[in-house]
């Protein structure tokens, strides 16, 4: 059985690579797409992670221990995420960051809960910085999951408040990706528009396959035919880019109320046509507060590529909360940090931030902003940036929850 011995030798050699002893660091695993269709989002966030971890380490780390970043590529696949999660856990990671893809988030939150149940003493926390399906802090909530981005409903609340104030908006078209997140956006939009402005007619509710559509011109033709003056979409990455491209080609003149219209190539794709018409809801944009200019500038110095701009301010808030919780708990043990995080309030540059104890959803200020050409900082070197048209305070953003959190004893 020479073959088998050879294979065994290979396996052993590979496994020995993992047997190295670990110095006293806190390993933070970052699990997101680093290849494939959504790679641009994942790679951009990875750079933020590296930058922010260095910042925390430069300030002394957490309770004297430094953070170390381990990155894993999950190709936006729930199953691949579980495979790399096992790898991360085996390499000693106690904190897991993920954000791109609510489907992946569902898989990870369940896997983390199962792991913690089966391995007491080796618990792991899951910090979700971008997967905003509301279910994760409602019916699927669990003690080990903390979300650092406003969920779909909270963001739709902000957007629809702005829409409600605009009397020119009469006909709204919804177009979203056909999966849990996209459907949540559509459902929230329908519900909140009906509540706030019953005179607004929803003239279309479109669901298209996720990351499959290459040519959006048929959809744009449909939007045109419906006579809509406003489009609400949660599309991200390639789906947002291609939709905007097709709209620009056809010269479609509508107001775009988006979740991700300010990032990852969309401003470059729409160019001047977007001024005054592309609106996004986010926790920050680079014209919000001058105090953060230094942070954005040092990020840009480290990553000068046009595609890499400082945009994940919520990751910075997440690390601020993380550090504050570790300080409050006087320990880096995940269970103690989790307990300290619950209900924790800190003040950041943009205002007060609170981590809700009842469902582990962060409450932070939200900004609804519109693309403009006369602002101090632009995005993606297009010459156009974003200007705030509405700000919602953290505590005003809270929505009721159905979460029944099971806490460890």
């Amino acid at each position: 059985m020479n073959k088998r011995t050879l294979q065994l030798g290979c396996l052993a050699a590979a496994a020995l690579a993992f047997a190295a002893p670990a110095p006293a660091v806190i390993k933070v695993a970052y699990i997101d797409p680093l290849s494939g269709g959504a790679a641009s989002a994942g790679i951009n966030a990875q750079k933020h992670m590296a930058f922010l971890i260095d910042r925390v380490n430069a300030a002394g780390g957490l309770n004297g221990e430094k953070l170390e970043l381990l990155s894993f590529d999950n190709k936006v696949s729930p199953q691949e995420s579980l495979i790399v999660l096992k790898k991360a856990l085996d390499e000693g990671a106690r904190y897991v960051f993920q954000g791109n893809g609510s489907a992946v988030a569902h898989a990870i939150t369940e896997a983390v809960a199962k792991h913690n149940e089966r391995n007491p003493g080796k618990e792991v926390l899951y910090f979700n910085y971008a997967a905003i399906d509301p279910a994760l802090t409602n019916e699927k909530c669990n003690f080990w999951h903390f979300r650092f981005d406003a969920d779909v409903d909270m963001k739709m609340q902000a957007l629809t408040n702005v829409i409600a104030r605009d009397p020119k908006i009469k006909r709204v078209y919804l177009i979203n990706q056909d999966y849990s997140f996209g459907k949540a956006v559509a459902a929230a939009a329908q519900k909140m528009l009906a509540e706030k402005r019953s005179d607004i007619k929803v003239v279309g509710d479109e669901l298209h396959p996720l990351q499959k559509v290459q040519d959006f011109s048929p959809y744009v033709a449909k939007i045109k035919a419906s006579g809509a003056d406003t489009v609400i979409t949660g599309n991200w990455s390639n789906d947002m880019l291609l939709l905007i491209k097709a709209a620009k080609d056809a010269g479609l003149k509508v107001g775009w109320y988006t979740y991700y219209g300010g990032a990852l190539g969309t401003p470059s794709a729409i160019g001047r046509d977007g001024v005054g018409s592309v609106i996004q809801v986010s926790e920050w944009h680079n014209n919000v507060s001058p105090e953060l200019d230094a942070v954005a500038a040092s990020f840009r110095k480290r990553y000068p590529d046009k595609d890499d701009e400082f945009s994940y301010y919520r990751l910075m808030t997440a690390f601020d909360l993380f550090a504050a919780a570790a300080a409050k708990a006087r320990s880096n043990d995940p269970v103690k940090v989790a307990r300290a995080l619950e209900g924790l309030k800190i003040t950041t540059t943009v205002g007060e931030v609170e981590m809700r104890a009842d469902n582990h959803q962060v409450l932070q200020p939200m900004y609804v902003s519109v693309m403009a050409d006369n602002v101090k900082y632009d995005v993606e070197k297009t010459g156009f940036g974003f200007r705030t048209i509405a700000r919602i305070d953290g505590k005003d953003a809270a929505l009721p929850t159905t979460c029944r959190m099971q806490r460890p004893g």
């Binding site: 052993a12 085996d90 489907a103 569902h106 369940e110 896997a111 056909d178 000068p304 590529d305």
Partner: protein, 449 residues
């Protein structure tokens, strides 16, 4: 002669008439052959039992890796039934894997909800699911062989993948369906919460599946598969319906793929739409081709190799997919029999006197080959780093040697290694050819086997 014996000998005749690489065991001293086979199986079983306790593999991750390899091996074996034994190239085999996985995970959810079925029986639901779908689709897809079959499998794969994304109730859409393998009746106190217990479950079913498939190949139907692969016209001439043979093996392959899917569901406790996706179909194709399609052990070898590469190579280099692609191309171009084929080529030469000469010739040839590969790897790594991580600057560390890609030296060194290595490598080919002649020449001069 009974029909069965006639089929067996006919299949063997047709196969041997085409002189294919996978000449099945010749009808020589069946008893000695059987003893050897039993010994191999027992040895394999013992090895698998001991493996998760070997230091280095006894971590959670090591055992997960072994479990993954086990699942991949069953899946790859089922695929090699189609490709290796019957010559049917399918680009949509993951459909049966995934639908079996869905069947299993739904059963697991039912168990979580109170159904009194112990977990070890769940993979059977996967097999049943795979078989049902295989019978359903196989009826239409196996009407033709060759390129038409390949394209239909591609189309069916895409259709099922799209359907799974759309039918949320059954497949959970993008998020998939989850279940808990520890919540249910615990037989003999086994709750399957630990990876070790899951590993042993996988080993059990993998051995059962492998034994069944090994047996299947030696039945008359299995022999007729080989015949249909090599000469379908002649098989039809004798009276066998090529389509019915294809349908039978297709259903069997689908069943075993579903079994692998069931194991997958137990291992990961989640099944999502990508379990039926094109990437998974492509991966099993890669495994079987690299391992060797026509040898039974080739599929296992390929599964282990590819799983290990996929999981571990990404730690060493960001360009691992590129290396995987190059490796695959090298196999297709230069070693179409796969790794198993390469080993089998040398197996009859092991005891010959000229064998050490052959090894020496290989050793001499390997030095420039290594230099050539080192140069290629250097070039690829430097390029990859520069284009995917431009902000990291031009200083690169390869194997603890620090290089600055902005200077010409690393490029010159790499080019020199590559070109020089290739030229020197070419020089050694006649030597290797001569040594090979000597080794095989002596083998045939040494008398009948």
């Amino acid at each position: 002669m009974s029909i069965r014996e006639r089929a067996r000998s006919t299949g063997a005749q047709i196969t041997q008439g085409r002189n294919t690489r996978s000449a099945p065991g010749s009808p020589v001293s069946a008893d000695a052959g059987a003893m050897r086979t039993y010994r191999s199986w027992i040895a394999a079983g013992v090895l698998l039992l001991v493996l998760p306790h070997v230091p280095g593999l006894d971590s959670n991750f090591g055992r997960s890796l072994l479990s993954q390899m086990g699942i991949a091996a069953v899946f790859a074996l089922s695929y090699s039934l189609l490709l290796g034994q019957t010559g049917l190239l399918s680009f949509g085999h993951a459909v049966y894997f995934g639908l079996g996985a869905y069947a299993a995970i739904h059963l697991m959810r039912a168990i979580n909800g109170g159904l009194p079925l112990p977990l070890p029986l769940v993979p059977l639901a996967g097999a049943a699911g795979g078989l049902a779908v295989g019978l359903l689709f196989g009826a239409v897809t196996t009407r033709r062989a060759g390129v038409v079959f390949t394209l239909i499998s591609l189309g069916v794969g895409e259709l099922v993948f799209a359907a799974m994304r759309m039918l949320q109730g059954f497949s959970g859409g993008e998020e998939g369906v989850t279940a808990n393998r520890s919540r249910g009746p615990h037989l003999f106190g086994l709750d399957f919460a630990s990876q070790l217990q899951v590993y042993y479950l996988i080993v059990f079913w993998a051995l059962v599946a492998a034994a069944l498939m090994h047996f299947f190949i030696r039945t008359p139907v299995g022999r007729m598969c080989n015949a249909v692969r090599d000469n379908p016209e002649r098989a039809e001439f004798i009276g066998y319906s090529a389509q019915r043979v294809r349908f039978t093996v297709f259903a069997a392959a689908a069943m075993f793929a579903g079994l692998a899917g069931g194991l997958h569901a137990v291992n990961y406790e989640i099944v999502a739409a990508e379990a039926v996706g094109a990437a998974r179909s492509g991966a099993v194709l890669l495994m079987v081709c690299i391992g060797g399609a026509s040898h039974f052990v080739g599929a296992i070898l390929g599964a282990i190799t590819i799983t290990w590469l996929q999981v571990s190579l990404s730690d060493y280099t960001a360009a691992w997919q590129l290396y995987l692609g190059l490796f695959f191309m090298a196999i297709v171009l230069f070693a179409p029999g796969g790794l198993a084929g390469l080993v089998m080529m040398h197996a009859p030469l092991l005891r010959r006197a000229a064998f050490p000469d052959l090894l020496r010739a290989y050793a001499v040839a390997s030095m420039p080959a290594v230099a050539m590969l080192a140069g290629a790897v250097m070039l690829l790594e430097i390029n990859y780093r520069l284009s995917t991580q431009p902000e990291a600057g031009t200083r690169i560390t390869l194997l603890r040697v620090s290089l600055d890609a902005a200077t010409p030296w690393p490029w010159l060194a790499a080019a020199l290694l590559l070109v020089g290595g290739f030229l020197a490598f070419r020089r050694t080919w006649p030597g290797v050819a001569a040594a090979w002649q000597r080794a095989t020449g002596e083998a045939s001069a040494g008398g009948a086997r």
